[in-house]
């Protein structure tokens, strides 16, 4: 089944054609990676799916529904979670609170009930905590539970951000360079997690990544983009063998 359907997607910022007519389908349960040189438009594709940017043209469909005209906060409610390339955590809150913020779409109480802290609120808080604890266990974040984000090392923050996305209990997760800035061991861990997300949690993973060994290890299919346009799509090996892709990375033109 096709979960995400991107058709002729484009966004122009003045004269900059950040994304210019990209189409691809992501199947449910698939790990789909987007690769490409710096400034290719990969993060912009994510921002278009998250509805942070309004597409100049094209449509995005998720789970059979046209989401092109939706608002950013509705995307999360549909079951699309994401991480950010430069880490966007709530720095003055603890790891636990950051993960609990990921449960927002599942809240069952309103602000009046919250203010009075009715028994219902406590019950639902326990439920959220249980879900979050599963994420903590999965990502082995136990030691950091009560630590403030502001004091954590870079690698841990990256993991917390993945955790916050997982706490949403999404259908699809968008990972923007989950391994950038991580050590070889840490990237390896990310690879295992991505595989577990797909196998055990039944998640669909859409990933932007420069680390080709990680891409090769986990991806079912790869899309290569450069200058806002799609160059090639296929298995990791096929895409890397593509002469246009090689040229894009080396910065030379192919006829």
């Amino acid at each position: 089944m096709t979960l995400l359907q991107v058709e002729d997607l484009a966004v122009h910022f003045g004269g900059v054609k950040a994304v210019d007519g990209v189409s691809f389908n992501v199947e449910a349960g698939e790990v789909f990676s987007i690769i490409g040189p710096n400034g290719a438009g990969k993060s912009t594709i994510f921002n278009l799916i998250s509805r942070f940017y309004k597409p100049t043209r094209g449509t995005i469909r998720f789970d059979g529904q046209d989401i092109t005209a939706m608002q950013a906060h509705q995307i999360g409610q549909l079951g699309i979670a994401r991480t950010f390339q430069n880490i966007e955590l709530f720095d003055h809150s603890t790891v636990l609170d950051n993960l609990l913020m990921g449960r927002h779409t599942h809240r069952s109480t309103n602000w009046v009930q919250d203010m009075m802290y009715l028994p219902k609120v406590r019950r639902s808080e326990r439920g959220h905590r249980r879900q979050v604890e599963e994420v903590i266990e999965f990502l082995e974040l136990e030691a950091y539970r009560d630590k403030l984000i502001a004091g954590l090392p870079y690698g841990v923050r990256k993991v917390v951000e993945i955790g916050r996305a997982l706490a949403m209990g999404p259908k699809m997760i968008l990972l923007d360079e989950p391994a950038s800035g991580l050590s070889v061991e840490e990237s390896q861990e990310v690879a295992f997690w991505v595989e577990d997300m797909r196998r055990d949690m039944g998640l669909t993973v859409l990933m932007v990544e420069h680390d080709m060994s990680l891409v090769n290890q986990v991806s079912d299919r790869v899309l290569a983009v450069a200058n806002g346009e799609a160059l090639a799509m296929g298995t990791p090996a096929e895409v890397q063998a593509n002469p246009q892709v090689k040229a894009a990375y080396l910065g030379t033109e192919v006829d």
Partner: protein, 365 residues
């Protein structure tokens, strides 16, 4: 140092980590409750004033400290609270009804103005709220039949079930009433912060982009925070009206807004306790300065009272000193001293130095 051994998720959900912390708070409220039997009328009136300022401070704290929005117009919401309460009571509505309605009026007004203001932040929002303040001030003058215009309005004395709560004839009762309101609002506020709603406020404050990605409707959240903040401030305004008894629009000058901002920043942004510390500072320090000045006069004969503006100068210097040397505010300083005592002799100099936060760029990632 104490280590809490957590045995249930409820340990993290409860307002207090253990009975010791809970007991301390109960003791504090108990001390506050017996205050009328301990201090004289003058100081009790001052304490009442401090309570009212704490309430208004909590209102602004919710907005500035917990949602990251600025407001230079909170005096306007105090005014709306005070006038709604007084005007309703003047047409015979009992206080028990007029008081919540005052909060509702200020809150609804705040939530409504927040919707167009939601795209603004920082200095632009501050200016917009300042403009709003001017509009409200003008409206008070124009709506003379209700507000008494320039002449002013009388806030009738409060009676609940036959018991008199007048600020002059039974100050003790009025003090207890204010204390009760403050305790109730503090409890509601603390509940909010440990709930999903409070978390969404913090999320909007710390990263709007993330908040949206997590499914938080930023516009709605900000306007809810604005409304709740204004409602609390409106309650404080209503009590302030009764405290002053007869007032006109000048009571809620722009200096009230500025003082409220000082309360939250000097008290400690992002902590409910900060509103109380700040309110104590803003109401007690001018008193303290004048007591010291009088003391100096009677012991040494040096009369500083004849130097105009000296009190204000000293007060301002204290405030500036705080902003420069203790950005975490009074409550932050208190936390540091407490940690120093608990860890003694292991405390290190730089323990509280802000950890480096990773540089963020303006562009959306």
């Amino acid at each position: 140092m104490k280590v809490i051994f957590k045995t249930s998720y409820d340990n993290d959900i409860d307002l207090h980590e253990d009975w010791w912390a809970r007991g301390k708070l109960i003791a504090l409220v108990a001390v506050m409750a017996v205050l009328p039997f301990v201090v004289g009328e003058y100081y009790l009136a001052e304490a009442t004033n401090t309570l009212i300022w704490s309430l208004a401070g909590m209102g602004l704290m919710l907005l500035v400290g917990h949602t990251g929005q600025a407001s230079l117009g909170h005096a306007a919401f105090m005014a709306i609270g005070a006038y709604t309460d007084a005007a309703l009571m003047n047409i015979g509505v009992p206080w028990m009804v007029a008081f919540p309605l005052a909060a509702l009026a200020a809150g609804l007004f705040g939530a409504l103005v927040a919707i167009p203001a939601v795209r603004m932040s920082g200095i632009y929002l501050a200016i917009a709220t300042l403009a709003l303040f001017v509009i409200v001030e003008e409206m008070i003058i124009i709506m003379e039949p209700i507000t008494g215009g320039v002449g002013g309005i009388f806030a009738p004395s409060i009676t609940i079930a036959g018991v008199d709560f007048d600020r002059y004839t039974s100050l003790n009762n009025f003090y207890w009433l204010c204390l009760g309101v403050v305790v109730l609002v503090t409890w509601l506020y603390a509940n909010l912060l440990r709930s999903p709603t409070g978390r969404s406020f913090l999320a909007v404050r710390d990263s709007e982009v993330s908040a949206r990605a997590l499914g938080i409707n930023v516009t709605r959240t900000r306007s809810l925070a604005f409304g709740l903040s204004c409602a609390m401030t409106g309650l404080a305004g209503a009590l302030m009206g009764h405290y002053i008894s007869f007032f006109n629009y000048e009571l809620f000058s722009v200096f009230i807004s500025i003082n409220l901002l000082l309360v939250v920043t000097i008290g400690g942004l992002g902590f409910i306790q900060g509103a109380f510390f700040g309110a104590i500072l803003i109401t007690a320090v001018p008193q303290l300065i004048s007591i010291l000045r009088d003391g100096l006069n009677s012991t040494t004969g040096i009369d500083l009272g004849s130097v105009p503006g000296l009190d204000t100068l000293i007060f301002s210097c204290i405030l500036i000193g705080f902003i420069i040397y203790e950005p975490a505010g009074l409550y932050g300083r208190w936390l540091k001293m407490r940690a120093w005592v608990q860890l003694f002799p292991l405390a290190r100099r730089d323990m509280f130095r802000r950890q480096k936060t990773y540089i963020k760029t303006e562009r959306m990632r």
